[in-house]
């Protein structure tokens, strides 16, 4: 286990490093925060002094070195605009985004996977057709449009749910559905086809021939094997929900990391962009490692002492 995990961790750190370095360079290429930062009547000298103070006059490589050294000491600098620690700025919004992503992920698991299984078991039935249709439409729908439609129908016309902002559970419903939409449709399709594939395999037939009842076969054998294939895809989905929530956060005025980064890019607030992307990249690799680990639990060939 550890032998497997350590190289994986090292690799992940390398991935995070590359991503963060790319963002460092990318964000330096988009220009200087001072233009938006300085007062309109600021003099040349005061602008130069501000640049100096923020370390923007140093050569790029020095800035990069300072940045890496900061990362090592877990000191990411202050937001240029709010003058609060960039780390705090991101962290204060992280929970909102994680909450949204997890809610969406739970929806994907709770809707996409069971419907996919059902559709596979009852292949060709009306429910199967409906499920496939929904999955197809869901995958073809841009999520900003879905969000606008949901607001229009459920918040404006029916008045059941709030339109935007963050608050109680009811505020979470529409953004979570919007964020989950594409993923749930994809999960539904993949579960269905995965189950169908497994169900057509010989060992299922063997199990059935051995007289195991239908439900047991499906749950114990087919579902586990189908899930195994799904875990990677679901893992990538979970990882991407966090980064992909920008649009949903914009549409629903959700005070999360995505919108923070979006705004920080237009203001060139480097420290915040960097921390934001760092957090997203770390989240991604952590989820990936968890996916790897879950293989161990799900795959009987890896697990020792399997009862099957």
């Amino acid at each position: 286990m550890a032998a497997h995990l350590i190289p994986r961790l090292l690799q992940s750190i390398a991935v995070v490093f590359v991503v963060v370095s790319l963002v460092f360079v990318g964000s330096r290429l988009i220009g200087d925060p001072i233009e938006a930062y300085a007062a309109q009547n600021a003099t040349e000298e005061s602008i130069a002094a501000q640049r100096e103070r923020l370390g923007l006059l140093d050569p790029l490589i020095v800035q990069y070195g300072n940045f890496l050294w900061g990362v090592v000491r877990l000191d990411f600098g202050e937001s240029i605009f709010t003058e609060q620690p960039a780390w705090d700025e991101v962290m204060s919004r992280l929970w909102a985004t994680v909450q949204l992503s997890l809610a969406a992920f739970i929806l994907i698991l709770a809707i996409g996977v069971p419907i996919g299984v059902l559709a596979a078991i009852r292949r060709g039935s009306i429910p199967d057709l409906i499920a496939r249709l929904i999955a197809l439409v869901g995958q073809a729908m841009p999520n900003f449009w879905l969000g606008l439609l949901l607001i229009f129908v459920f918040a404006v016309q029916l008045g059941w749910l709030p339109t935007s902002g963050r608050g109680g559970f009811e505020n979470l419903v529409l953004p979570a559905i919007t964020l989950a939409g594409f993923g749930a449709a994809a999960a539904m399709r993949l579960t269905r086809s995965g189950m169908l594939e497994v169900l057509s395999n010989d060992y299922i037939r063997t199990a059935q021939a051995k007289g195991l009842a239908g439900r047991t076969v499906i749950l114990r054998h087919a579902l586990r094997n189908a899930l195994l294939g799904l875990v990677t895809v679901l893992g990538i989905m979970l990882a991407q929900l966090l980064a992909g929530s920008i649009i949903v956060e914009v549409v629903f005025a959700w005070p999360g990391v995505g919108r923070l980064i979006f705004r920080s890019i237009s203001l060139r607030d480097f420290p915040v962009i960097q921390v934001g992307v760092l957090v997203i990249a770390v989240w991604f690799v952590v989820v990936n490692i968890l996916v790897d680990l879950s293989y161990n639990i799900l795959d009987p060939r890896i697990r020792v002492g399997s009862e099957t």
Binding site: V15, W145, L196, I247
Partner: protein, 303 residues
């Protein structure tokens, strides 16, 4: 599932039976396929001949007849079938012109990412070694990289333009091809015909081009077809955030973004482009599914 794929006995039947009449030789599921192809053709024709087909100049403004509803609503004008936008521009003509943008993006991004990804995948799978691990790490980095944020950075750096959208999408869509092709090559490289070619002294280049490539083409084409919806939706999303096509370009995503403030009173301003995006994406997916079942029933998990 095999019912939707190529029936296994077909070649055999073909050998024995007399030549079947043409309608029996149509691929399975042809009525639906015809619909998909018809939509696709319409999309491509609109894209190529937009300037001839559009009943109005899509940039022609008329501030007096702005925000008109589609033809079935009251207060509409017959010359604007789908109504007009906030500047009195004809929605129908803009949709047609918008298909040109989508087509352009699809026609550049998909071949671009396909060629790049396939080449990397072929090399990685065939050569193995350091290039392989490098390429696979790159794929991982790319997946860990928040694509949307990167696109926003690029747009902030260079200003929004269609060219940037194309480059960004290629950068973020080559990886799935690389992974797919590499996986296939890994299983192909030990196969007899490849080993034979190698022993006969064929160069790496020749093996990859003549023996490996033809065997991965099917899956690559399927993935490419399925990518049509990804590209369309990605372009629309970038446009929605203001990082998409430049101001002079008419695109469906931008039409949705422009109309979204007025969703409540002029639903169709976002409705038409939204539905159009959906239809094209849907047809892309369905066609991809059909192709997958037709070409390679084993590849159900391509996504």
């Amino acid at each position: 599932m095999s019912a939707q794929g190529v029936p296994a006995e077909e070649p055999l039947v073909g050998l024995i039976a007399r030549r079947k009449p043409w309608y029996r030789r149509l691929p399975r599921g042809w009525p639906l396929l015809t619909v998909y192809l018809a939509v696709l053709t319409l999309f491509i024709v609109c894209g190529i001949f937009a300037d001839w087909i559009a009943p109005h100049d899509p940039t022609d403004q008329n501030l007096i007849s702005r925000l008109q509803g589609p033809i079935w609503q009251e207060e509409s004008k017959p010359e604007h079938i789908l109504g007009t936008d906030g500047l009195g521009r004809d929605t129908f003509s803009r949709l047609i012109k918008g298909s040109q943008t989508s087509l352009l993006v699809i026609a550049t991004v998909i071949p671009g990412s396909l060629v790049l990804g396939t080449a990397v995948g072929l090399l990685a799978g065939w050569r193995r070694g350091p290039f392989d691990s490098f390429a696979m790490r790159l794929v991982e980095v790319q997946l860990a990289f928040p694509a949307l944020l990167f696109a926003l950075l690029i747009a902030a750096m260079l200003g929004p333009s269609l060219r940037n959208v194309v480059v960004i999408l290629i950068v973020f869509l080559w990886a799935p091809y690389a992974r797919l092709v590499r996986a296939e090559v890994l299983s192909l490289r030990e196969r007899e015909f490849v080993v034979a070619a190698r022993t006969l002294g064929a160069s790496d280049f020749r093996v990859m081009l003549q023996h490996l490539l033809p065997n991965v083409v099917n899956s690559v084409v399927i993935l490419a077809t399925l990518n049509v919806s990804t590209v369309i939706i990605a372009e629309a999303s970038l446009s929605f955030l203001g990082a998409g096509a430049g101001p002079e370009t008419i695109s469906w995503g931008k039409m949705v973004a422009e109309g979204r403030d007025l969703l409540k009173i002029r639903f169709w301003l976002t409705g038409f482009p939204g539905i159009t995006i959906m239809i094209v994406a849907l047809v892309g997916n369905l066609l991809g599914d059909w192709l997958r079942d037709f070409l390679d029933p084993q590849l159900r998990n391509i996504q």
